[in-house]
Symmetry: C2
Subunit: 291 residues, 2 copies
């Protein structure tokens, strides 16, 4: 059963993020909670999303920077940061005058080392987030139905296992003052005209098909899809496009499973380094203390 | 003296684009011309920009696809297409149901071969566009102040010489129903936290400084900047950001010129192939017939 929770920045009296559980499908939002820290200045303005897509060329990984520029603190988060480009991303955060609060992973990556641990050593106030189902270390764990707030904007957590057991897709909120069209950060569950492999890390083509069809293809067709990787130079797609043109996931389930079983992919060269490191925020030497 | 002209898609009775000159600083727009082909369906809706940023990894080139999705024909254009990724771009145009009308270059590139000629051989209705100052071949030549219409959306042509003599920046229109914030496609004149080199092809650091400061830094600060290349994984910047943080162009002119004179860059490996090819739309063997 899904639980609905909010993870939200509190500036006072709490420094740490606040997590609260709600009954399923409740309509209450974090913004309605009495202790919400928004100011009149923020309340008068609609949230304004700052959004940057950043590329790490070696592993063809996309990192995403999102912030609420209308909030007095400009709280920001990074989705799928890479260790090699962490300094670039942090410099940008600083130049844009943002307050980085979360470093979030969609899953335990096998092709690059996450930057979340490194970022936390440089910006100690940042909290790392990953799904509980990933079994990895982090400061905060999310489950399906959770909402991650940064200012007045939030991401919903959708479980999309299949590439790994713990894969999630983060989707911008469906509500007033949330970005339109919606945006889904799909990790490796759904790539543009492709998808992540399903032959290791608890992968399952059966599960991946169900995940994408139940959690992503049910979103509005104009929802913008931002994957964790692209190898052909695409930057964005939409739900409507992938439903029509994804050469794997637009097929029926049996055809999809057959495609995935016959990919004959080589063993990922970074796997033996990346997976153990990414179980502990990318910093093996310091283990859980860095997470 | 600037001349103001409109380049606009006519579906009937002309198949070819229509170019007309107006007196400088006239307020007339193409949409006000009697023979404009918009329909009531289009007129009732605000233009809706379809926008895709596409990357060619080998030369780190960005190609941009823009279209007016509210127009019945969904007219589209490609800015700085690359020969190696032309098939990818054309497949996307087809999947999105767009009608490609223009293949546009910001300048004669020295680091990759343009896809404009190749695209014209595959989509014969497409017209190639480049600046008159480039001295290259094309179907249509633009000059500062020209407007390039695709549906109800237009790009303004700003002369930004300095990387080459014929460099231009294409800027989305400043008017009702034009995309907000504005978007500037800067070619190699202004890169994110950098700029194009100025040591060949009629390059001039003096001219480049004046171009960027007079034609780009005078745009609204929230104008989105989309360059022809990025080598660090950035996808977009803003005028406000580059005015503050561009390590070259935020300096005074003498400092900038000194920086550019001491870059000690190697000779571009593609230059002797790319420049002659790009003078004729990337297709040397067929020369001007393909342009």
């Amino acid at each position: 059963m899904l639980r609905f929770r909010c993870i939200q920045l509190f500036t006072s009296p709490f420094e740490a993020p606040f997590i609260q559980s709600f009954k399923p499908h409740t309509s209450i939002s974090c913004a309605q909670m009495g202790s919400y820290s928004t100011t009149s200045s923020s309340a008068q303005n609609s949230p304004k999303l700052v959004f940057r897509q950043l590329f790490e060329k070696e592993s063809s990984t996309y990192t995403y920077l999102l912030a609420d520029a209308s909030h007095p603190q400009k709280p920001a988060l990074l989705i799928d940061p890479v260790d090699k480009t962490a300094d670039r991303d942090l410099a940008l955060v600083k130049e844009l005058g943002l307050k980085l609060i979360y470093a979030i992973n969609t899953h335990v990556h096998a092709d690059h080392v996450t930057g979340s641990g490194l970022i936390k050593t440089k910006f100690p106030g940042v909290k790392s987030i990953i799904s509980k189902a990933s079994n990895a270390k982090a400061d905060l764990f999310v489950e399906p139905g959770d909402k991650i707030y940064f200012g007045d904007i939030f991401l919903e957590v959708h479980a999309t296992p299949g590439h790994t057991l713990g894969c999630v897709t983060y989707v911008t909120g469906d509500g007033p003052n949330q970005p339109q069209p919606r945006m889904a950060f799909t990790g490796d569950a759904l790539l543009i005209r492709g998808c992540g492999r399903t032959d290791f890390q608890g992968g399952s083509s059966d599960k991946l098909y169900d995940s994408v069809h139940s959690q992503i293809f049910t979103l509005p067709k104009d929802t913008l899809l931002y994957p964790a990787h692209d190898y052909k130079g695409f930057t964005v797609s939409t739900v409507g496009e992938e439903m029509l043109y994804n050469p794997r996931l637009s097929k029926d389930k049996e055809t999809f499973k057959n495609i995935m079983q016959n990919l004959n992919l080589s063993y990922p060269k970074m796997m033996d380094v990346a997976v153990p490191a990414n179980m502990v925020c990318g910093l093996q030497e310091t283990k859980s203390e860095a997470c």
